[in-house]
Point group: C2
Chain length 488, copies 2
């Protein structure tokens, strides 16, 4: 176990922060609430971004870029939207600094006050729909399927690296449609894209569902979400896709002429995932030794470590194996450090979560074998060098699948159906995880449950079956179970 | 000629703006000074970014991400730096909005005033060097070779799409080194990378040089630059690479222990290119019909247009050609629109600057040929369908090279050596372009020339030869010619 990293059993929160910092993913910055994403962490994020970007393009979307700043009056145009974001807005009020006349230093120039304050975007629906008004006249201009990769700012007092920071990176899709049905379909399609990404790239099983009114995005008609379970039994919302109805079209007067030559308001969706996914990735899979990265997202998938240290006679074979692996599209690195001992290096690579480590020793070579260590199970085996590249390619797939299966088994073990309040509270306090229970469908009950237990309704699962029951708190009738959990 | 686009000969500035807007590259936004980069323009920028990113990684750099906000006190720590940027800073002073008590709407909450104002980054040297203090202790931590892709804000009163906007996108490299020599070498290496990119991707010949003190980056010891010439004879700075000496290390107290166990300040570089390159791309190559894009950056390199309109019997052959082109890594699109006439479509594709257009008519098919139209020369030819994909691959290379050659010939024709003030003024007023002339080496003379003529010293070319001469303004002795021009 790494001495730098607090064990999960001692303090799960501290384990997370230690790991994020010590594995070189991110760190706090001098600016309150803002993080620095370090090179190794950014490398993982680049892999996430590239995979998602391809999936967006494969589903017909294009990228664009809209301004960082939003006039205060725009943000105020959709009532629920401003209500949701007003309390966390960074506000630009001036556009110039100057030297203080008393020589005390640089001050904000009071003569350079903006007529209207600008908000640093917390999300871009308002500035984008104000732009769409110029872009959309006719049904021929629809659909508009646009995404942007951007930084956004939501002022937070209590922050945690990746999970909750004042500034974060994300993508936000903003689409415009001629019909309600098409927009609803788009929101569901993008939810499927997110679920596909979470499960097949992050090895993270997710529940697809719809949010209750309390948890809905400010300005949405419906918020769809994917919800994942972390190793401490807390849930994490990993992505949301909103059907916005005509709310923003009405707020910004975006109408189109239909084929029948009538004017109608445009239908909208928006959808986003953020660097929060980095937090989910860490918390779902990693252990007390460090990161455990799914091979498809690992910046380095295989590291070759000459033992006891790099020697000329090992170099050729290491290069040959690396070259064969690269030929199969595998990201590989050869350890050329001759200062540190193998034990130290192994611990470092475990901390970094590199999926496969190859130990290349002289004795192995004589036998025509190599030591293969996998990060997920920590198993080691001796494998013939002949055909090693193909073996590793298969092993990386196996690790990817195993990580998903393990996370799925954990989630299944930690998803409990309960029918009484006592059971509900007991499971929350002991086993944790997702709790499937009946709820009477009112915001008041949801709020009361949250106040008493800190558990929220994560979603109404899309595959929930109709089932008569009684609300765990009020005993009132319910038609289906919803999913509760304490959540990040 | 496109009716939507003002001819260059009528009004070059208006031609530029018309083109940027009508070809779907960018548009003004509701936020003063900020632009919207539209999907087609963003597609070109993505190709630029991806090519540059690969070049940075191939030269050993990694990406990271630093905060958008910079505490005012950080920006003030390097004297020349704050002097250079103070007048164009967007300042965040508050972090919350609230409903006005009189019901008049949403206002900035006066209780949510920041203790220290935050500046939206105009560039990131200060926040990054404040971070590097924690990352660098020993020579073993060096070099640090980090880049970030980010948005930055420099408040501008007079803006022009891509060329000068309050917010723009860029990359900024920030490297840290153990020796002066290594840092100087890095600054020169990255200048070479920029020149390589400009010439081989943008088809834009550039002069590599070093800036005079007047034009140097605020906080740099030396600013290297690449300078390009636009079709109107004005110069455009296309990228800069700064040797920062120990200025930021001293301002932020970043020292490292050397191999000899002494403490030294770290040596630094920074270097950047921005969405300004989009403006350079347009102004260097395009014409009155629209964009002319170099094939390596064009989002679509080839469009196949069935004539007179898409027909089932043409579809198979179009698909076959497209498939063959894709097999060669060529970005191809088939026009499936059956509403508009070929003449309209041709004009549209010319406006978009698609390098090669294939006209697929029934008569051509009978002859086993296809019409190939190239955007750069507007030549059309009839080419055998058999082997067409290989032909197109070669043609795209030829177009790329031809565009570079044409721009180079233009620059050569518009680079004039002058030895007298009268000649200097005459060339500036008539032929324009780069003017190679002697200068006495003082800031006063440079300023006087700028005030009288609006021409600035673009750079002292790196390949300038020693040559005795007399300053065109003062007649004082000079050791080498420098390059003057009016510049964007």
């Amino acid at each position: 176990m790494s001495k730098e990293i607090t064990p999960r059993s001692d303090d799960y929160s501290q384990w997370y922060i230690d790991l994020v910092r010590k594995a070189g993913l991110a760190d706090y910055s001098a600016v309150k609430g803002c993080m620095v994403i370090k090179p190794y962490g950014f490398g993982i994020w680049e892999n996430m971004r590239d995979a998602l970007d391809r999936m967006f393009k494969d589903t017909g979307h294009v990228n664009a870029y809209f301004p960082l700043f939003i006039p205060k009056s725009f943000l105020s145009k959709e009532a629920a939207h401003i209500e949701g974001f007003a309390k966390e807005c960074a506000v630009v009020t001036h556009y110039r600094l100057k030297n203080a006349e008393d020589g005390s230093g640089v001050i904000v120039d009071p003569d350079a006050k903006l007529e209207e304050e600008l908000i640093v975007r917390p999300t871009s629906e308002t500035i984008i729909w104000n732009t769409y008004r110029d872009w959309i006249q006719s049904y021929r201009d629809l659909p508009l399927l646009i995404n942007q990769w951007a930084n956004v700012v939501r002022w937070e007092m209590r922050t945690r690296l990746f999970l909750r920071t004042a500034e974060f990176l994300w993508q936000e899709g903003h689409t415009a449609h001629a019909s309600k049905e098409e927009a609803e379909q788009e929101a569901r399609t993008m939810l499927d894209v997110y679920a596909d990404f979470a499960e097949n790239w992050m090895a993270l099983p997710v529940i697809k569902g719809v949010k209750t009114e309390n948890e809905r995005f400010a300005g949405a008609v419906d918020t769809y979400c994917i919800e994942a379970l972390m190793q401490d039994g807390w849930a994490l919302q990993a992505g949301t896709s909103h059907f916005l109805g005509q709310n923003f079209a009405k707020a910004f007067d975006v109408q189109f002429s239909t084929k029948d030559n009538t004017l109608e308001y445009v239908w909208a969706t928006s959808w986003g995932v953020s660097t929060r996914l980095m937090g989910a990735l860490v918390m779902a899979h990693s252990d007390d030794e460090g990161l455990v990265l799914p091979p498809r997202l690992a910046p380095t998938q295989v590291v070759i470590v000459p033992i006891p240290k790099p020697l000329p006679e090992l170099e050729d074979i290491a290069q040959k194996i690396a070259s064969d692996l690269k030929g199969l599209g595998i990201r590989v690195k050869i350890d050329t450090d001759d200062q540190n001992r193998p034990g130290y290096k192994f611990a470092e690579y475990e901390k970094l979560g590199i999926p496969v480590r190859l130990g290349l020793g002289k004795r192995d070579l004589e036998n025509g074998t190599i030591e293969v260590a996998r990060r997920d199970t920590k198993e080691k085996s001796s494998v013939a060098i002949d055909g090693i590249a193909q073996h590793i390619a298969g092993l990386l797939d196996e690790i990817q699948q195993n990580m998903f299966n393990r996370a799925l088994a954990f989630r299944n073990e930690h998803t409990t159906s309960v029918d009484t309040w006592d059971e509900f509270v007991h499971v929350l306090e002991t086993k944790r995880g997702f709790i499937s229970a009946h709820w009477d469908g009112t915001s008041e009950t949801e709020t009361a449950i949250k106040e008493q237990t800190k558990a929220t309704i994560r979603c109404i699962p899309l595959d929930a079956v109709e089932e008569d029951g009684a609300c765990i708190l009020t005993g009132k009738p319910s038609k289906r179970r919803v999913l509760f959990a304490r959540a990040y």
